[in-house]
């Protein structure tokens, strides 16, 4: 629905100005969503292989930008097969009940030097929290490379309940990192 809306909206915005440089299509094969958690003080990287991202972003008009990221939690690679199985279970993501996580931006602003901040709502395990994601945007030929991170506190979403809630073992802070390659499609 949102995509349809964007598809209708974008040509309307672009009409009349040849300079419009709104990037509106994420090239999934050149994009990634990963995360870094800290286990016993050790940063451990993982990633989600399947996600969808709708982004419309004009570096010169960030305030008009919009984004929505949908992550398929079952596609998690948490570093080992043990960890993958555990992460899908009830205590962590409980993917049977909550298969997806979603970030929806509410406002994006420039903070200078090619850096921006996306405020928005993160929903995981049925709980929605406000987050602020700093990111950078770099034009490269006809592409725009966006890199940033959404810092979350896992316990606010009930990720790693019960025995896992000991933040001395797995820290509360988790960085959800995203890297999107955007192009403009008319």
């Amino acid at each position: 629905m949102r995509r349809l809306l964007l598809a209708l909206l974008i040509p309307a915005l672009g009409a009349g100005t040849a300079l419009a440089a709104e990037f509106n299509t994420v090239q999934l094969d050149k994009s990634s969503v990963s995360f870094v958690s800290k286990q016993m003080g050790v940063p451990v990287e993982g990633r989600f292989k399947t996600f969808a991202a709708q982004v419309s972003f004009d570096p010169n008009k960030p305030e008009t930008a919009k984004t929505q990221i949908d992550i398929e939690l079952a596609s998690i690679d948490a570093g080992s097969s043990d960890a993958n199985a555990e992460a899908k279970g009830k205590a962590w993501f409980n993917i049977r009940e909550f298969p997806g996580a979603r970030f929806v931006s509410s406002g994006i602003r420039s903070i200078g030097n090619g850096r921006y901040e996306a405020a928005g709502k993160m929903t995981i395990k049925g709980r929605t929290r406000d987050v602020v994601a700093p990111f950078s945007a770099k034009a490269d030929g006809g592409q725009l490379l966006i890199e940033g991170a959404i810092p979350i506190l896992r316990l606010q979403y009930g990720i790693g309940d019960g025995t896992w809630s000991d933040t001395g073992v797995v820290a509360d802070e988790v960085q959800v990192r995203f890297r999107f390659t955007l192009v403009t499609k008319k």
């Binding site: 286990q39 016993m40 003080g41 050790v42 940063p43 451990v44 990287e45 570093g79 080992s80 043990d82 960890a83 199985a85 555990e86 025995t163 896992w164 000991d166 073992v169 797995v170």
Partner: protein
């Protein structure tokens, strides 16, 4: 050059510190890898790695100390084969005490779980993440450990044999409180 007649106090302390660390790390390693994933398992793995890196450092210090402070020669009167066996065991143990923590460190790097010593000092990854290499190193680590366990048993059995059956001062050289006889 005069041959030393005793181990230095530092050499004795280092020997027993390494022994203590191995005595904890080895059974811990055997126990922990069977556990299902849990916070306890993550903790135990970390403790094991901290101990292992400690062994690596302690053994490096021991070897450096040994260069400047030669150990006393074996007590006279031992059969030649026992002398050869004793030296071979000691040298193999030194080698394993370095190779085992290194293989563990390599394994951690290959499996993507870096080592942060005592949760404070991050150690660099020795290799890039590579699951196959990690599995191979896991086998290497285990094999080296079973070899070391066998050698430790030989080492300890020989020390006890010297003490109980030969009644020589071999064990007392490393365990000074065992020393009996007239006080100097």
């Amino acid at each position: 050059m005069n041959l030393p007649t005793a181990y230095t106090r530092i050499a004795i302390i280092l020997h027993w510190l390494v022994a203590l660390a191995v005595f904890c790390a080895l059974p811990l390693g055997m126990y922990m890898h069977e556990l299902p994933l849990s916070p306890t398992k993550l903790q135990l793995y970390s403790y094991h790695k901290w101990l292992g890196i400690s062994v690596l450092l302690l053994v490096a210090v021991r070897l450096a100390w040994r260069i400047g402070h030669r150990p006393p020669p074996l007590l006279p009167g031992m059969p030649r084969w026992q002398e050869i066996a004793a030296h071979a065991t000691h040298h193999s143990l030194y080698l394993l005490l370095l190779a085992i923590p290194l293989s563990g460190w390599l394994m951690s790097s290959a499996l993507g779980f870096s080592v942060v010593w005592f949760g404070v000092i991050p150690l660099p990854d020795l290799v890039d993440k590579d699951e196959q290499l990690g599995e191979l190193l896991k086998n290497v680590h285990a094999t080296l450990n079973f070899t070391m366990l066998a050698l430790i048993l030989v080492h300890a059995a020989a020390a006890i044999k010297h003490h109980l059956f030969d009644h020589d001062g071999t064990l007392a050289r490393m365990l000074p409180f065992l020393k009996t006889g007239p006080r100097a």
